[in-house]
Symmetry: C2
Subunit: 227 residues, 2 copies
Amino acid sequence: MPAPTPAPSASPAGSVRRRAGRPTAAVLDQDGITTAALQLISAKGYDGLTMAALARSLGVAPSALYNHVASKDDVLLLVEDHLAAMVDVSAFGVEPWDAAVRRWAWSYRDVFSEHTPLIPVIAVLPVANAPKTLAMYEAVTAGFREAGFPEEKIISAIVALEAFVFGAAYDVNAPEDIFDAGRLADQVPNFTAAVDRLALERHARPTDVAFSLGLEALITGFGALRG
Amino acid sequence: MPAPTPAPSASPAGSVRRRAGRPTAAVLDQDGITTAALQLISAKGYDGLTMAALARSLGVAPSALYNHVASKDDVLLLVEDHLAAMVDVSAFGVEPWDAAVRRWAWSYRDVFSEHTPLIPVIAVLPVANAPKTLAMYEAVTAGFREAGFPEEKIISAIVALEAFVFGAAYDVNAPEDIFDAGRLADQVPNFTAAVDRLALERHARPTDVAFSLGLEALITGFGALRG
DNA sequence: CCAATAAATGAATGGCATTCATTTATAACC
DNA sequence: GGTTATAAATGAATGCCATTCATTTATTGG
């Protein structure tokens, strides 16, 4: 009988009860897999992240991975949880609410704009098996509550901000000429004029201007809800 | 020599100049492919949308598709452009600006929440080859301009709204218990309390409450920019 | 009638995640 | 200290996928 795949949820190392002996020399574990996956992603991008390549970088057969991970999506969840810990929530409870939200949202977008292939997975996956992601939510929720946010609106506000962040993360990776209408420019004069007009402004990356515009509107709007 | 793949951009049917004869009985064209793809998606979902299945539903060999389409991503772009025409922009120039934006954003989200696998593709693909998508942008841009929006901010505002819409489209498909912290609930008390508190309110779908909250904040914030 | 060519075929390619019967090595238990 | 349960690793196989390409078919303009 093949070894049962462990639950994807991280259990504190060594806490599992056993009925009989087992080998100590575990070549593989979830931390090692996560680290190797991150290296692979940074070296070859998400196209290079295959179960075969991951196994190869760990000096192991592909099938060995499945003793530690239920599926490739499970690997992606491990990566996501690692990244969640890099999102800056340190300003909550220290700086004013609006500044804290600003810091959080910008860093959240910056982290995941390099990892957009994770978004379809994480936007829909239960948070229960991602402890660091949960910790991020806890910090943000506590910050909202301390700032006098009505309790029943906190989750909705976070969900809305997160939706904006995820969408904006894609936008960061859009090519510069994404709005070039090309041959059809004549047929969309208002649009073309607005695109050209924006190009004249040389303040910052267009994607950052749009993110700032939307984020400030959300912060202002949500700020008014505080008691 | 194999037939050169036509540019993914739709050319008005029959407008291509030719130097010599060619067969009339074209079994396949981009419209037929788009329709078949939509049927397949609605019947089997995006997992069922394979080039083989698509060819099968058209009574054709898979390789025949590549005479009309450069790649599978090209098929997805055709589908996207079809869906863009279903987004409701009819209120721009008719109803007040805020009502028009509201109608547009809700219908945009509703259409693409059934087609989230398109989002990673369209968020990053040049708009030049998607005429109906361009038409949507044109209508929205014109609506913003007529409402007195400063020209240099129109595209940024649309990009921000679109980011929010795409993120929210994912959220629609999230399972109800996505925020259940499970075993780790003790460690995230503020978050768990806020999740429970929201669950007490039985007004509407949580995803709709969050979307409304964010959208109204964006509309209010952007509305203040009008001259 | 001929030449050019768009469109379709069917076989092949290389890659992918995942499964499974089997082997290996450990450590708990008597 | 031998026995045994079992976690972990192997390597071969499976079935699916998008895409390519040499070839054939059918059509029409000249």
